[in-house]
């Protein structure tokens, strides 16, 4: 097989980042971050199952400022990966490949991820709504 004319991955040292490529690598980075962050969810569930004393410790961690910072990062990563994942699913069925569409859907993902993060924290901080 002739391999010389096959496309190459971007050479990162000389690669000029574009809006769409930044969104692409962010999808992977948020994915890895979510993988690590899910361990906190496991810890929270284990603490809840272990009893009130353990759960109190989990609450203290979540309520501290480093814990809050991780939670905020987790929330945004979750919504970014969710929204951009939906964008990927549309690409999978062959929709939205045109450059203008891809840029527009990219901006929709960025705006949605921040809006949903703000909405979730508004519910959390101001105690709005009932438990679904």
């Amino acid at each position: 097989m002739v391999q010389d004319d096959r496309p190459l991955s971007p050479h990162l040292q000389i690669y000029k980042f574009q809006f769409t490529s930044v969104l692409s690598i962010l999808h992977r980075m948020t994915g890895v971050a979510l993988g690590l962050g899910t361990l906190f969810l496991v810890g929270w569930l284990v603490a809840a199952a272990a009893g009130p004393e353990w759960f109190q410790d989990a609450r203290a961690v979540a309520g501290s400022w480093p814990g809050g910072l991780v939670l905020l990062g987790f929330t945004w990563s979750l919504f970014y990966h969710l929204c951009n994942g939906i964008r990927h699913l549309f690409w999978d069925i062959g929709m939205g490949f045109e450059l203008t569409t891809a840029r527009l859907s990219g901006w929709c993902v960025v705006l949605s991820s921040f809006s949903l993060t703000a909405a979730a924290w508004a519910v959390g901080v101001f105690g709005l709504g009932s438990i679904p």
């Binding site: 097989m1 002739v2 391999q3 992977r28 994915g31 890895v32 979510l34 993988g35 899910t38 361990l39 969810l41 496991v42 569930l45 284990v46 809840a48 199952a49 009893g51 009130p52 759960f55 109190q56 609450r59 309520g63 929330t75 979750l78 919504f79 969710l82 994942g85 939906i86 990927h88 699913l89 999978d92 949903l116 979730a120 924290w121 519910v123 959390g124 901080v125 105690g127 709504g129 009932s130 438990i131 679904p132």
Partner: protein, 130 residues
């Protein structure tokens, strides 16, 4: 394989190397879990936001409701499956030493199964507890 170093035709070179109907299994499983996770993540985010700062009793009552344990276990199963499929691709792309690559993939795969078991069991202990 270059055409200059083999007498085989191009067709002969690729025969037997392609998909035996299972080549897309990884890709398909990642998409299937992604579709499942869309409603599950919205549910989880809304629930955790509403539970923000909740006491132990409120969380236990929530996980003993009719909806929460089913959704939570569905999220954990789909989530950990999706997580290990994605991490596998990331490791395969960026870790080039074969030994390190295999080691990381084993850690991620077995670790995901363990974490899923621990968290599902925790949910069940709460949901079925007296």
């Amino acid at each position: 394989m270059s055409s200059l170093t083999t007498l085989k035709s191009r067709l002969s070179c690729v025969r037997g190397l392609g998909s035996a109907k299972e080549g897309a299994a990884h890709w398909w499983a990642q998409r299937l879990t992604a579709i499942a996770l869309v409603p599950l993540v919205f549910w989880l985010a809304a629930s955790l936001a509403a539970l923000s700062g909740a006491e132990h009793g409120a969380v236990v009552a929530w996980l003993r409701g009719p909806v929460a344990p089913v959704m939570m276990i569905a999220f954990l199963v789909a989530g950990f499956h999706h997580l290990q499929l994605g991490m596998q691709v990331v490791i395969e792309d960026y870790v080039h030493s074969e030994a390190a690559k295999i080691t990381f993939i084993i850690i991620v795969k077995l670790g995901s199964v363990l974490a899923a078991l621990i968290s599902v069991l925790s949910v069940l202990r709460i949901a079925l507890g007296s």
